[in-house]
Amino acid sequence: MKDKNKILAGLAIFIVVITFPFWFNLGKAAPAPELELTEKAKAAKTCVMSKEFMTAEHMQLLDVWRHNVVRGGERMFVNPDGRQFNMSLSNTCLDCHSNKEKFCDRCHDYASVRPYCWDCHIDNPKGE
């Protein structure tokens, strides 16, 4: 039929569009980001919770912290090991992880996540 060429053209466009991820990344290796821990973070060995928990759930934990501090006026966090922490992004998290570019941002950029922490918080409270 005379429409065969049109159908072939449409099909070719479709194939090009759906294989977008394959040709977009052609020749590029996209290794998972490597995080750099500061000396202080290395010395502390563990975060406020286990590493597995923090990797997957840190955003939820931070949200609960914010809720408890801002709405409840409650500042003390006790982890399952019984250790106490001040619920504070600037004073607790950023105390060890003072290298936002090499810690927070690497994964967030990789996973295309834009946390709104920094809408209010400054990322380097110690001014280092």
Binding site: L8, L11, I15, F24, T55, D63
Partner: protein
Amino acid sequence: MNKNYMVSLIAVIVLFLIAYVGTQLGAGVQMVFGILVPYLAVALFVAGFIRRVMGWSRSAVPFRITTTCGQQPSLPGFKQAKIDNPSTTFGVVVRMFLEIVCFRSLFRNTKMKLHGGTKMTHQLEIFLWVGALAFHYAFFTVVVRHLRFFTEPVPFFVTILEKVDSFMRIEILYDAVQAGLPGVYMSGLVLVAAAIYLFLRRVFIPQVRYISLVNDFFPLFLIIAIAISGIFMRYLTKVDIVAIKELTMGLVTFRPTIPDGVSYLFFAHMFMVSVLLAYFPFSKLMHMGGVFLSPTRNMTGNTRQVRHVNPWNHPVKVHTYEEYEDDFREKMIEVGLPVVKMPEEKA
């Protein structure tokens, strides 16, 4: 109870469990579900799609069978419905575009009702149209959003779409229920809601239930299961996103790896997506390609202006009246039949 949807539901649950339980058995099984199955599924999808469309391209379309939904071009006093009864290619392009983007033929859905047993009425029934629009656009958004796992760096249109999609914020923070972080994507919720509506419609409207088969219910359940497993991973049982992106990027850059810490739920999610992709070319889901080839929509309705000859018509041997008269003129005159052309010697 209806065996069509029970069979589909059980099939989807079994598929989920195969991947969810299977990948807990060891690294070898994870290689199968994380690398082998997705590659096979994509290959089947592409090859099957091409095969199906090429098959359609060979189909005979001898006649104009355009559905005319308005006034055809006529005498100067009559206004033509240029889109609903197109006589130009431009009209067809507009008609096809609106059909594909707005589902106009679903909008025309009517419901027949008898009033007082005798008076029949037709009323507009737009819920199928609304549900279908919500479903398809939500699904499209979800698919495009997922490109963030398959591209590095993530292209701008994906980022913009994510921002628009997560425009609404919901944060529920009780000790028992915590939800809303990370930002809530509307498309995922709309997708589940619309798919469930489309399923309930098939169950509760008797006429639709009567024509609903396993191959109507199965993709619906599969898509609902994919969406719910995705929502679970995002909002409820959090997963290690970076490890998952490492896996998906490995697939699209042809350097497949299975990083540590990929959750079993993710393998189940990806397995169901693979099943959907592999099933696609062999199912009704091919309406994705088929809608472009709808013969009642993609042709001009110009049968009154242009003579369309069936291309494979056998050449017919014609014996015209003039030739017939030439053969039998004398005999016709003998018995007194009138002839058009009188023989010359008698003229």
